[in-house]
Symmetry: C3
């Protein structure tokens, strides 16, 4: 953990290719949210919700969109995408992943047949089983578990208590948050004579480069073949990905969402929090699934769906609006019926 | 674990400030549910669902509301709130948290720079990183992880496999159930040129006194600043609390509920199981959110909401009732249309 | 892990009691999904979704229902239930659970008063507390935790990081996936004077024979008495089972479903993914609950329910269909009202 360096507003503007309004020599030493920031802090305005906080922030410098008026005392760096700019600036102040000393901790248990790349690190109480391979600089945190013949690429970082099951494969720069589970057995049973019989789950999980998996998330191994998470895809905490699911590149699954068995998800797909996808369906590239939506059939590329059962978002919104007016509609139908019973064709 | 002591019905009545009906010298040695209780057991009736079991219970003594008739053989202690009375009585029989010997277990790994208060306990295979501090009598269970410079107050109890990340702060008497995760990285990415770039999550989690966090629940650290859980708030198993969320005092989040980033929750709020709150919203004091509800906008104090999208409960119930009658309503509209086509203004 | 043996198509047909169409001497060396299979692989067709893949599969042998036409080059084994047949065949190729050496690993911490049956295994960094008992051949994987006086039957297999709390009881052949939590404290508080007071959770969990519990799933101990999971019931990843729930035999709970406190579930019940059951209700034998359904009242035996609040599936589907036509219905009511205002009884 290296101490964050001081930066000047002018350096910030150069780094994010923004337009500076104010004193280029103002110094920032840290980054903070708009409501918590104080003198010496750099802050940002990304969500319109916080525009009201702009007049009261005590920050020294702010990343802000071009069209938002700023108080005169605040040095502004104007950029089209303040959140993206924040990402670039935060690297300066990021202490990085908690360090784990390269090599094998004296309390770790590593099978002699396991292969560790240069500067790979195995932390306290971690276990690496026979035939497993860790790429260069890959780090298995405290209490981590790497199963038999599992393969991890280079520069992976596994937070404490992560689990990678037998024969599963991780690409380069994969990050597992605490207690993420890769390669649990899929939920597969044959129901025979009134009882469930276990279907052996003999497939694996293959995770691409630059994937991140959240805390306590579960990725089940395939019954046969592969459960696949494509390069760059990000999976949040407590997400369930069932056996034989395939997710393409650069998708994002928000917390507590779930994907049932054998479903295929395209690239650039987003699942909202607590959304659920049925098994054996196909969700096209660029699809966006609303929070808590339940998708029970195929979704063509580029569509935004919501509700249960999920349908195109504008339809769901129309139905929702109609539902809110439904008690009123029922009252109007009663009025029409009454008019008819009264033998009257006229308006009341 | 100390053996529960024997108590007499009269002592029970005194302890809970209840009114005794029956023999004050009946002895109870344990507490049991109304259907499982036997002779020598104290039981209780809190939920009306179990009133029918009253005539058949074999318990010796029962905590029961004033207005409920009891069989003559049963010694009754009448109290307005039997569940609250149960809480007071159970302390007599509670074996307490599983013991962990004070000091550092020989298999634990504690950095020399960590500070342990008097009678703090670090269990087998637990790890305490550099600069962490544990208050007096705080107990880190088997396989627990305390990150660099984390601070735990006094009398905290961490069940096995709990995780407290770097620089996170816990107050006094905080309880973490097994494998609770405090301080995982928030789910923050900037989407640039079709790929997600990681936003460093350099904030922390601050948890107030008397908070309890459920098994496998996740509380993400803030991007910047603090994710905050207020004093006395209780969080159930498998709950997700995202980065920069703030929850005030004495709220309760039931199992599998989730709160998206930067949302603020007041005090005395209750979330039902599997409820979800969108990001960047404000939920006022005393709000109650129904199970599985999806809240997508601000909720003023004191309101009870349900459904998706969540709305005031009575509105949701009206819409729900109307929805159930919708097929009938459609039939009636068809009848009206038919009547009109037939040129008839009369009732059928 | 033993190498899978070679098998001939004729052996496959005999083993699953199927009808062979093609060459009985074709050799299979592995099992694979229909789209991934190559020469030497056995595959299967269970879900109609994949029927189109039949013409293109490169598998050597296929398990297939009687009525599905097969390409001539493919040797077919016809069976009524291909998925059940797959289960029987996979046993040949199943490497079994990852091995843990019998006895106590040198890094494990086992209390001298714990009792281990013949060939029981306690893996690296596992902990077994005082008075706990493990049956013959039961295996506690890496980092597992067995609490004080807990009892595990014979032939149980606990994947790494599983947790079994104090005094909980597991039958024979129970499987816990990674980080499953059995016996966390129930979420029980008395709300007194504006604050939650902890109700001690002094009951236990009792799990029957042949139960399997998913990764990161949580089964809470009872407040008093027992939380019970019946023989043969299968519970998927990230499922929540609250205190004092009772689930009978041979039921299945899909991923991320949740059951609130004291609810009773019959045998042969199925919960879909993300389904939720309210507390204190009874769900009869053979009930099927749709994915994401929210059950708020008792459900009689044999009924299929869906939606929120859950109702019989055909009603939910009717309401859903009516909801989709609701904007149209509103338009038609407006037309009727207009007709009436125009003083016209005629059709437009």
């Amino acid at each position: 953990m290296t101490a964050p360096r001081e930066r000047k507003a002018g350096e910030v503007a150069d780094h994010v290719e923004g337009v500076l309004e104010g004193d280029p020599d103002v110094v920032v030493r840290a980054v903070a949210g708009i409501e918590e920031a104080g003198p010496g802090d750099l802050t940002f305005l990304a969500h319109p919700r916080y525009r009201a906080a702009l007049d009261e922030t005590r920050a020294s410098v702010i990343l802000v969109p071009p069209d938002v008026p700023c108080p005169a005392a605040l040095t502004a760096v104007r950029v089209a995408d303040p959140y993206g700019a924040l990402q670039r600036v935060l690297g300066w102040f990021d202490p990085g992943f908690p360090g784990v000393a390269p090599g094998v901790h004296r309390t770790a248990v590593v099978d002699p047949s396991a292969e560790l790349g240069p500067d790979a690190a195995v932390g306290p109480h971690a276990v690496v089983e026979a035939g497993a391979r860790l790429g260069a600089r890959t780090c298995v945190g405290v209490g981590g578990y790497i199963g038999e013949a599992a393969e991890l690429g280079e520069d992976c970082y596994l937070y404490p208590h992560a689990y990678v099951g037998r024969r599963c494969v991780l690409g380069d720069r994969v990050v597992l948050q605490p207690a993420a589970v890769i390669g649990s057995d899929g939920f597969g049973y044959a129901f025979v004579d009134g009882r469930y019989r276990r279907i052996p789950q003999i497939g694996i999980v293959v995770i691409g480069d630059d994937v991140e998996i959240g805390a306590n998330a579960c990725i089940d191994r395939a019954t046969l073949g592969v459960t696949r998470i494509g390069r760059g895809t990000k999976i949040d905490n407590l997400v369930q990905v069932a056996h034989n699911v395939a997710i393409a590149e650069d998708s994002a699954l928000a917390a507590q969402s779930g994907v049932a068995g054998s479903t295929r998800i395209g690239k650039h797909v987003r699942l909202g929090g607590q959304a659920g996808l049925a098994g054996h369906i196909r969700v096209g590239d660029g699809v966006q699934v609303g929070a808590q939506a339940g998708v029970i059939g195929d979704v063509p590329p580029g569509v935004t769906v919501s509700g249960y059962p999920a349908r195109p978002h504008h339809e769901a919104m129309r139905a929702e609006a109609a539902l809110r007016r439904l008690p009123d509609l029922a009252r109007r139908v009663r009025a029409l019926e009454k008019g008819r019973r009264d033998g009257s064709g006229e308006a009341p």
